[in-house]
């Protein structure tokens, strides 16, 4: 069965800190790994990764995939209180669905 595990489950840091969120996976016929941010309502898309070693970047957020070791990281630099959210990792495989991890709850204190 496809499986996605995120760590840590919860993280509290101060504004300005840099954080790294982890996602490991086991999936049949891997196609893509996605990161989502969920604040109060719907998850919103951050990145999709399909190739190893190629960093995706958007402002202070960046992500990279390692298909050999089956994991991805999401980095956030110079964190702000608006980064507080649940970050979800999901993997798409041969079963034509996205399987989600349990999420990392990130809290940024001023």
């Amino acid at each position: 069965e496809d499986k996605v595990v995120q760590s840590p489950l919860s993280l509290v840091v101060h504004e300005g800190d840099t954080v790294t969120l982890n996602c490991s996976y086991e999936v049949t016929n891997f196609r893509s790994l996605l990161w989502y941010k969920q604040e109060k309502k719907a998850p919103t898309f951050l990145f999709m990764l399909t190739s190893s070693g190629i960093e995706k970047k958007s402002g202070r957020l960046s992500s990279i995939l390692d298909k050999k070791e089956l994991f991805s990281i999401l980095n956030i630099t110079a964190t702000q209180t608006g980064d507080s959210a649940i970050y979800l990792c999901a993997v798409g495989g041969g079963a034509q669905k996205l399987v989600f991890g349990q999420g990392t709850r990130l809290t940024i204190n001023p």
Partner: protein, 113 residues
């Protein structure tokens, strides 16, 4: 225009009742999904429809019955509601051939008393 819209956003009901949640997408996607998010925020897939055809049914109790009248709509009907059904139900859409980004609705929070 809202891309994926769900109604109602909130639903409070008694155990044993039957309720429905509706979902519509205007993105032209061929596949729609229902996900359940529990109190620990774990998003778990329930169903997937591609062009009105059921393609994924993840061992969900048969009290849950999805219906897709056309590829832009996917409704969820729940019979004989139980306390454990309390959760946020998210509808999402995407393209089946390309397991990439899913677009989510804002969720329907169901509370069973």
């Amino acid at each position: 225009d809202t891309a994926v819209s769900q109604t109602p956003k909130y639903l409070v009901t008694q155990m044993g009742n039957d309720k429905s949640i509706k979902c519509e997408q205007n993105l032209g996607h061929d596949t729609m999904y229902w996900y359940k998010q529990d109190s620990k925020k774990f998003l778990k897939i329930m169903f997937s429809y591609n062009n009105k055809e059921l393609i994924i049914n993840e061992t969900v109790p048969n009290r849950f019955s999805p219906k897709s009248p056309d590829k832009a709509h996917l409704n969820l009907h729940i019979n004989s509601l139980e306390l454990g059904d309390s959760a946020v139900y998210f509808c999402a859409s995407g393209h089946l051939q390309y397991t990439g980004e899913l677009f989510f609705g804002e969720g329907s929070r169901l509370t069973v008393l």
